[in-house]
């Protein structure tokens, strides 16, 4: 049976929304094509209750099995220097046809090196499409991988035509109602020795663009919006919606892959890559009225 591995990014003790979305996409593909979905956690030392809680949330998204490394060698952000060898070890064991990475900076960080190590095809900013069997397809459902280039063009890859593993970084999408069970098998793995003793995090501070990077919906507001208004709007915005000032979008605009993008400062449109399959709405309407109408209270 074919395997699909989904790398899970954990922030603040929970799987990110794009990670959970990636599991739901893997479930959708696996159900149609007959594959097993492995959700892969790379954590520092954590207790069993934390592992079980994370596993439960991923089981509900449709994971068949959780693979978990909870090791000091994996502690820290999802950087290739920390988790790259672990990802490769899992791939060497499971030989997945498809490895999915969630939207955000984790894609360009982990995707290219993994694809190189596996000699895999690599599709960043991608969406997955299942094409029902037709006469020309020989009675089998086909998996098409749509890669949305920054210039607006699109590459479409038929997974059947690729005689090597495929590594995919998905766009950010919304998580549907539960697709699986909260009780799911967990296998603990040991992490391979990495050269991390030579790598040290000196210090860190908050990343103001973090929510923007992972958002499924982005609303870009004028730079002169009042701080208290912005704070209020952010608090009331639905899960996965990032409300950002235009000036604060430069840092992560190349990795943000929302489904919906509303530009209440239309002159910032050129900063964003095309939104895959979604909508981009530049508007000169009153920002406060629009935010209120979308349920973001100021």
């Amino acid at each position: 049976m074919a395997n699909i591995v989904v790398f899970i990014e954990v922030r603040d003790g929970a799987a990110t929304l794009p990670s959970r979305y990636a599991v739901t996409q893997a479930r959708r593909v696996a159900t149609e094509l007959g594959a097993t979905v492995y959700a892969l956690l790379a954590l520092g030392p954590v207790d069993d209750a934390t592992v079980q809680r994370l596993a439960g949330s991923l089981g509900l998204c449709g994971a068949d099995k959780i693979l978990c490394g909870a090791d000091a060698a994996l502690d820290g952000p999802a950087l290739d220097v920390y988790v790259g060898p672990f990802l490769q070890a899992v791939a060497d064991r499971l030989r997945p046809l498809l490895t999915l990475l969630p939207a955000g900076a984790v894609g360009p960080e982990l995707g290219p090196p993994l694809a190189v190590r596996l000699a895999a095809a690599y599709c960043p900013r991608a969406t997955l499409e299942l094409v029902p069997p037709g006469a020309e397809a020989g009675g089998q459902t086909r998996l098409l991988i749509h890669r949305h280039r920054a210039d607006g063009a699109e590459r479409v890859m038929d997974a059947r035509d690729v005689e090597r593993p495929i590594v995919v970084t998905l766009v950010a999408g919304t998580v549907p109602p539960p697709l699986g069970e909260a009780t799911v098998e967990v296998e603990m793995l040991t992490a391979p020795d990495a050269a991390r003793q030579e790598i040290r995090e000196l210090d860190s501070g908050p990343d103001d663009a973090a929510a923007f990077e992972l958002a499924t919906s982005v609303i870009v507001v004028p730079d002169d919006i009042a701080e208290e208004t912005l704070a209020s709007v952010r608090t009331s915005a639905p899960e996965g919606t990032a409300v950002v000032r235009a000036a604060d979008t430069a840092a992560q605009a190349d990795v943000a892959a929302p489904t919906r993008l509303l530009l209440l400062t239309p002159d910032s449109a050129g900063r964003f890559a095309p939104v895959p399959g979604g909508c981009v709405l530049p508007s000169t309407a009153n920002p406060n009225e629009v935010l209120a109408a979308l349920g973001c209270k100021s």
Binding site: A105, P108, R155, V156, M157, I199, T284
Partner: protein
């Protein structure tokens, strides 16, 4: 001893992220720019500019280009390789990762700031929801986020080297087809300017 800093520049010219890499490199020290293919403009951005020209790399896949550029960096004494996070073409960021693989170097993507003290590298990245300063060993391959940057203008003479001249036997290159998929017109919808609030809400909701 001064660390040789190599920046990989696309033959078609630097993408926005490669320009950020060139600017960061120039702040660290003298830059050697390398292009896997003809790039007559390469001297603009470096004190040394090397274009690799060889039939063996014409139309080569990213992994092959990575192997060639890794060998070029080693030949030039480079321990620190900087590149854009994505080319302006397919934009997958595979070449820098392949360079790191072949150099057995540390790889860090989408760096925003970098400093080099002796042979200790300190790079700032956004990862896991925080901005982090990481201390890394050399050799290292860093890619840069496409942030606005200004690159000092240089006027180096562009040297041309073949693979044999950088110590690489073209016969040892294992070229493979690049799995790109078919190129189609993008389905990403074009921006639709909307003025009325109800229309915005309608379109926003429909896009869920």
């Amino acid at each position: 001893m001064q660390v040789v800093i190599v920046v990989c520049v696309e033959p078609t010219g630097p993408s926005a992220s490669t320009q950020a890499a060139l600017a960061a490199a120039a702040a660290l020290g003298p830059v050697t720019a390398v292009s896997a293919g003809p790039n007559p403009s390469l001297g603009r951005w470096a004190v040394r500019a090397v274009q690799l020209i060889d039939t063996a790399i014409e139309g080569a896949d990213p992994l092959t280009l990575g192997a060639v550029l890794a060998q070029a960096a080693s030949h030039l004494g480079g321990k620190l390789v900087l590149a854009g996070s994505a080319s302006g073409h397919e934009g997958r960021g595979l070449v820098p990762a392949a360079i790191a693989h072949h150099m057995k170097a540390v790889y860090l993507a989408r760096v925003e700031e970098v400093a080099l003290v002796d042979e200790t590298l300190v790079a700032t990245v956004r990862a896991g929801g925080r901005r982090r300063r990481m201390q890394l060993p050399l050799p290292a391959v860093l890619t840069f986020a496409p942030l606005p940057s200004t690159t000092p203008q240089q006027s180096a003479t562009v040297e041309t080297l073949s693979l044999a001249q950088i110590g690489l036997d073209p016969a040892t290159l294992v070229r493979r087809s690049d799995a790109l998929g078919a190129l189609v017109e993008g389905r990403a919808r074009r921006p639709v300017a909307v003025k009325s609030v109800p229309e915005i809400v309608k379109r926003w909701t429909q896009a869920e």
